[in-house]
């Protein structure tokens, strides 16, 4: 069997596994967010928080909950890193510098997980498990909560009530992410991912240059537990600098596929949850079909360009294996790269900077779509629903009818909010990139020159503003400029869109439903899926084409 066929079979296996989980997980999550019953452990938690989980919130209250919880999260994580030197279990690592601590705190709270530090050389046990990994759970739960609030906006009528933020946060964490992560972590350990607290210790080695034997230093840590939620919550911040390329994080070809499965499973299944909550699973299938079309199309393109290995160094080498692990090969690495950039994960099992020019371009374009195919946990669903609103608006313009979606009128206010949503991220990416290129010092951080050097900076802001977290990692991002501007881009790229989403949810929930007539655009049909795919590609393409042309397109076409 050739590597191309093996790659295709791995993709098919992945599709099969995701399909098997789609209905049970989607149904389960729908139950989680509609059930009246509270688990006992949840009642204790509500008591600890001092919140009544049954109080309905209107959108401003819901938003305040999101913002307050996240602000506290940033502050807590910042302080935890700043006092690392005095914490037990810090493995001798010192306090993180203020600019890097801010960047990392913003990064993990916004579900981005951009890392300007070297994991194994900066973060001790306490910061990793009680700081970073906690945000891996709760930032993902916040994402799902906001998505569910938007779905409730569609599902409910003549009320402004969107549910209770604390209840959604706690249920997402306790009922979905924790059980999922426990199972995933045990599978990963069974395959060889490490899980211990031995810290940095000496282990024997085979041959030390002079004689047989000798010793090497190892980093022990709670890796599997962090790896599991890092993928399941579409976070992506590696325990080690090499992220999921590190054999202790991702030991075998099976764990590689399993990790890709983990990062896709919740975002895809949420379309089922959405369908159930709005009372038509077919609407969920239409969104699913849109996501899957883009995902499969991009994966096919990536495999094609990586197997073709254009680029001088790869031509001489006879394959695009730079930055890729032998056990995953080109096929497994290509599937991972597309899945991690199309979701807001940003974990990597191979280094995107050393992909072919066009391959690197595909990873960037994947993020530029706005992390919607299938996107981050929760953020993917609300992102694509915003695009669906834009698509029905375009369709409405064509036939001269007031657009509707899921029985709600898409009026001026709704379109304004949706437009703000889709404008904010490109604005952040392009403005910050322009400033970084115009100023004299940021370019000093580049490892590569020419189009790829520009690509490193474009990639960085694209990754930050879209809350992805992967990198063209040649860029030395541990400078005050990058730590602060990327941190800012992450915060604005996460929370401004959430403001627009919740405002939109509020205004949709207040409407009364519009009856379906012969003139209603059938948004559960393939025609609409086609329209939506087209709208997503055209809007993203028009926004980013000039920037892409200067970076990856120039690099890809030159080789």
């Amino acid at each position: 069997m050739g590597p191309v066929l093996a790659g295709v079979l791995q993709l098919l296996a992945l599709i099969g596994a995701l399909a098997l989980c789609y209905i049970p997980l989607g149904n389960y999550m729908a139950k989680v967010y509609t059930s009246d019953k509270h688990w006992r452990v949840e009642k204790w938690i509500y008591k600890g928080i001092g919140a009544n989980p049954d109080t309905e919130m209107r959108w401003p209250a819901y938003l305040r909950g999101v913002l307050a919880f996240s602000a506290v999260g940033v502050l807590f994580l910042y302080l935890l890193q700043r006092i690392q030197g005095s914490l037990p279990g810090s493995l001798g690592f010192k306090a993180i510098d203020p600019d890097q601590a801010f960047n990392t705190a913003a990064s993990f709270v916004t579900n981005t997980n951009w890392q300007s530090y070297y994991g194994e050389q900066a973060m001790g046990h306490v910061v990793q498990t009680a700081g970073l990994a906690v945000q891996n759970f709760v930032s993902a739960a916040v994402g799902i909560a906001v998505a569910v609030a938007l779905v409730r906006g569609f599902a409910r009528s003549r009320t402004g009530e969107l549910g209770n933020f604390w209840s959604d946060l706690v249920r997402g964490t306790i009922r979905i992410l924790v059980p999922g992560a426990v199972i995933a972590a045990v599978v990963l350990v069974a395959c060889g991912a490490i899980q211990n607290f031995s810290g940095i210790h000496e282990v024997g080695q085979f041959f030390n240059g002079h004689s047989m034997g000798g010793s090497q230093q190892w980093n022990g840590g709670a890796v599997a537990s962090q790896e599991a939620i890092k993928e399941l919550g579409t976070n992506g911040g590696g325990y080690f600098n090499a992220n999921s390329a590190h054999p202790f994080e991702n030991p075998t070809p099976f764990t590689n596929l399993f990790e890709i499965f983990l990062l896709l499973v919740i975002p895809f299944a949420l379309t089922r949850t959405f369908g159930i909550l709005v009372g038509s699973v077919k609407q969920g299938y239409a969104i699913l079909a849109t996501m899957a079309t883009i995902w499969l199309g991009f994966t096919a393109l990536m495999m094609w360009t990586e197997f073709a290995h254009h680029g001088p160094a790869f031509q001489i080498a006879g394959g695009a294996m730079e930055g890729k692990e032998t056990r995953f090969g080109v096929g497994g690495s290509s599937i991972f790269a597309v899945a991690t950039t199309l979701t807001s994960t940003g974990a990597v099992d191979s280094f995107h900077s050393s992909f072919t020019g066009l391959g690197g371009g595909i990873t960037m374009l994947s993020m530029m779509l706005g992390e919607i195919a299938p996107g981050g946990t929760g953020s993917g669903l609300y992102g694509i629903l915003i695009m669906a609103i834009i698509a029905v608006f375009i369709a409405g313009l064509m036939v001269g009818r007031t657009p509707e979606y899921l029985g709600k009128k898409i009026g001026t206010r709704e379109i304004k909010l949706a437009a703000c949503y889709i404008l904010i991220t490109p604005a952040l990416v392009l403005i910050f990139t322009a400033f970084a290129m115009a100023l004299p010092t940021p370019a000093n951080s580049m490892t590569n020159s020419g189009a790829h050097g520009f690509g490193e900076i474009l990639y960085a802001y694209t990754s930050a503003a879209n809350n992805n977290g992967s990198a063209f990692a040649g860029l030395n991002a541990d400078t005050q400029w990058f730590n602060s501007t990327l941190g800012l881009a992450m915060l604005l790229g996460r929370f401004l869109p959430m403001v627009f989403v919740l405002a939109l949810a509020g205004s949709l929930a207040e409407q009364k439903p519009v009856p379906v007539t012969a003139g209603t655009l059938r948004t559960e049909k393939p025609l609409f899926t086609g329209l939506l795919v087209g709208a997503i590609l055209i809007i993203t393409g028009l926004t980013y084409f000039p920037a892409l042309a200067l970076g990856p397109l120039a690099e890809g076409l030159a080789s």
């Binding site: 891996n136 202790f248 730079e322 692990e325 280094f351 900077s353």
Partner: protein, 222 residues
């Protein structure tokens, strides 16, 4: 204080309490439970899949190692010890940090693009070296015999594996340097070649550390 300030403070207080409670669940209980299960059921794997030779731990079956000669005076990078099977080049973290070739203490890739002058040079040099080192009397390595993994660095800088093709072209050299019959070394490589998981996952590979441990046994036996 006005009302909105009090409300904001109350909200932040609720946020802090929520964070602390959830930290207890996901940041303390969760990792400890997983560690308990891992240490109980998969003790060996949870601690790094240590591998032994002659009763002594010699590394992890998951992590690659270097098989180099001692540094000579004035050398920056050591030369490979050609007695042993060699892994992939690991040009490490490049300019951002020191080259930590096969050092577990810091993992990472070169992050060089396909048109990067350094990378082109490294690949050319590596290819020339692979051809030169592995061509012995009666066996010449052709440029087209050299697989991509033999001349490129991995993502982690710790890749434990090489492709079967790269192991194959090292067979004559290993036999020559260690005074072993080619057929026996060839058999050793074949025995240590692992196919794709379930026939389709990942790529076929040879674990270099396990192969060298077996080679050491073979040398001892002859």
């Amino acid at each position: 204080m006005n009302n909105s300030a009090i409300n904001t403070a109350r909200l932040l207080w609720a946020g802090l309490r929520a964070l602390l409670v959830l930290t207890l669940v996901t940041g303390v209980v969760y990792p400890l439970v997983v560690t308990g299960i891992a240490q109980g059921l998969f003790n060996d794997k949870a601690n790094g899949s240590e591998i032994k030779a002659d009763g002594k731990v010699v590394g992890s079956s998951l992590i690659g190692q270097a098989y180099n000669l001692p540094l000579k005076k004035g050398q920056e990078t050591p030369e490979p010890d050609l007695k042993w099977f060699q892994g992939r080049p690991q040009n490490g973290l490049g300019t951002n940090s020191v080259n930590t070739q096969y050092k577990l203490i810091l993992s990472g890739a070169t992050n060089r693009s396909g048109d990067n002058a350094d990378l082109i040079e490294w690949v050319k040099d590596a290819k020339a070296a692979v051809i030169k080192d592995n061509s012995v009397a009666g066996y010449t390595v052709k440029p087209s015999d050299v697989p991509a993994d033999a001349v490129t660095s991995s993502g982690s800088g710790l890749d434990p594996d090489i492709s079967p093709r790269y192991a194959q072209i090292q067979v004559h050299r290993i036999a020559d340097k260690n005074g072993l019959p080619v057929a026996e070394v060839d058999k050793l490589v074949k025995d240590h070649t692992e196919g794709r998981t379930l026939g389709f996952m990942g790529e076929p590979r040879v674990n270099v550390l396990e192969l060298n441990i077996a080679l050491k046994e073979l040398i001892k036996g002859n």
